[in-house]
Symmetry: C2
């Protein structure tokens, strides 16, 4: 297959009677500088058939965190905004929620009480809003929400708040034979509803947290049902586990933005040969947000402290990115 | 991408100054007849851009069971033969096994006692032999075993006991834009050790039963460890669940051979549009084995009874296959 592709390109070049033209900059939204240089140098090294660091096509696996890495995650994870909106939409059918936490807080936009309910409270909200339906029904609910919901600060649909430089990076890697995967703490089916259209990443290349499902034949119709029970949490130590269970081999490049991505970068960059680890640092209060050590969503401390020593590239959104969102 | 590929082929044809030649039979090991005709008709229908049943590239997902569908499974699942050989290899380090079941039976080739130990006994053997090491170590153990182990009847390496007609079918589907996945009750990492080389199916397209894993940093080296704990059983009702968790969409074609594949075929063929379900019936005692309703491995009864009514294709190995194994 690889050979065939090379052969086709060679024939094409010959047929046209020209040498291949100098390609345009594949990363136009990245400012010139050491960060961009490191990305390009890595890709050139692993794709140079005559180089020492050449990596065969099938091993060119790149993994990307989603929240804060491919799209924004403030003032809260977008999937949490979805869950809260769902609680409000379902509230008329559940009058008992008016006096029952954490639902009461969600309905009343009482973020302080909601935060105090902790992981258990948030999990209750997610389970209530993400389970009890078929995968097709859930997908439709996500699509409908995305069509109308707007981000509180930018007043744009959430799927427009993806990072233009990262879209270019995904495309650049794929053009160089990489298979790109999303590896996120977010819900896998929430992401799969739009990742193909927005990122060009097909559902089978999205890895995330998941709930259990059950197969059954209802009135003669085979279907699956989403259950209110955790199947897998794809965060921190869970990310290398999720990658190995799903992909079955270690990536050669990993991209993240928070300490939830630390182990994924650690494991990826510890492999033999040329490896690439990158953390997006949100330091652009003007065009996006500035946060790291003190935030609830996207906490980043260990990665900032240890990343550079480990050879990871730290992206300054403010300095490295010409543009944040697609226009 | 799809467009680009078509364009390349068109340019090539023009450059060569010829119309594309009539392609050779892509399924030479399949005898002419209704079974082969149905396969070819399905592939033509879903790839005909002007037809009513056209399916876009990204939805051309085909799933294949492994044991009994892509390779043989008698006189026992090959992975079980591997587990028994491992017990024998590890026995010198475990003198207590000489008097402890099910290990004693495994060491003594006492198949009757082993069978009597039931699922629990077999699970104990699998856990003991498949856990406690890193994924890299496990892969090496599998590769070493495959290099030397021989099938008791055919005296060939197990990876040569794959079905030539099915290898052709995999290639034929891929040549028509399908993404081919293995969906097996067998252990996912056992299969991943050789599926890419033997079937052309990369590890990320192998779905199977799995054990849990743990990420840890040992003496500064990040690694994963295989734990003696079931993560997922990819059989019967588990197959549609495993497919949806891993692939995130319903396949349009499913290939199996036992009632463990029933739900996978049922769910696949119940989707809208053109769908294909196929069961391999082992009815060739001379060239392979003949079994269905009364076997321990690869039990097939409901599929034979209901499959034809559901529009599934039943393959007679004896009549439909010109050749069983690669020469």
């Amino acid at each position: 297959m690889r050979f065939l592709r090379s052969a086709l390109i060679a024939v094409l070049a010959t047929a046209a009677g020209v040498a291949p033209a100098q390609p345009a900059d594949p990363l136009p939204s990245w400012n010139a500088g050491p960060t961009k240089d490191r990305i390009v140098a890595f890709v050139r090294a692993v794709t140079d058939r005559n180089g020492k660091e050449f990596v065969p096509l099938e091993e060119r696996i790149a993994v990307f965190d989603n929240d804060g890495t491919l799209w924004s995650e403030q003032p809260m994870y977008f999937q949490l905004a979805f869950a809260l909106d769902r609680v409000k939409a379902l509230a008329p059918k559940h009058p008992e929620w008016k006096s029952k936490q954490p639902f009461k807080a969600a309905i009343e936009n009482d973020m302080k009480t909601l935060a105090a309910s902790g992981d258990k409270g948030l999990l209750t909200l997610v389970m209530t809003t993400h389970a009890g339906m078929t995968p097709e029904e859930f997908r439709k609910i996500v699509e409908d929400w995305l069509a109308t919901a707007r981000h509180p600060k930018f007043k744009r649909p959430y799927t427009e708040l993806v990072f233009q430089p990262m879209l270019e990076l995904l495309a650049y890697l794929r053009a160089n034979g990489f298979k790109t995967f999303i590896v996120s703490g977010g819900g896998v089916d929430f992401m799969r509803a739009w990742a193909e259209k927005v990122y060009g990443v097909p559902p089978e290349q999205v890895i995330g947290s998941s709930i259990k499902m059950k197969y059954e034949v209802r009135n003669g119709v085979p279907t699956l049902v989403r259950l209110p029970e955790i199947n897998f949490i794809d965060d921190k130590e869970g990310k290398p586990v999720g990658i190995l269970q799903h992909i079955g081999r270690r990536p050669i490049a990993a991209f993240g933005n928070s300490d939830g991505d630390f182990q994924m970068l650690e494991w990826t960059t510890a492999g033999g040969g040329s490896r690439f680890g990158l953390l997006v640092h949100h330091d652009d209060a003007e065009r996006e947000y500035a946060y790291d050590r003190k935030t609830t969503f996207g906490h980043l401390a260990r990665g900032l402290d240890e990343g550079p020593k480990r050879g990871w590239t730290i992206v300054s959104m403010k300095n490295d990115w010409k543009q944040i969102y697609p226009r």
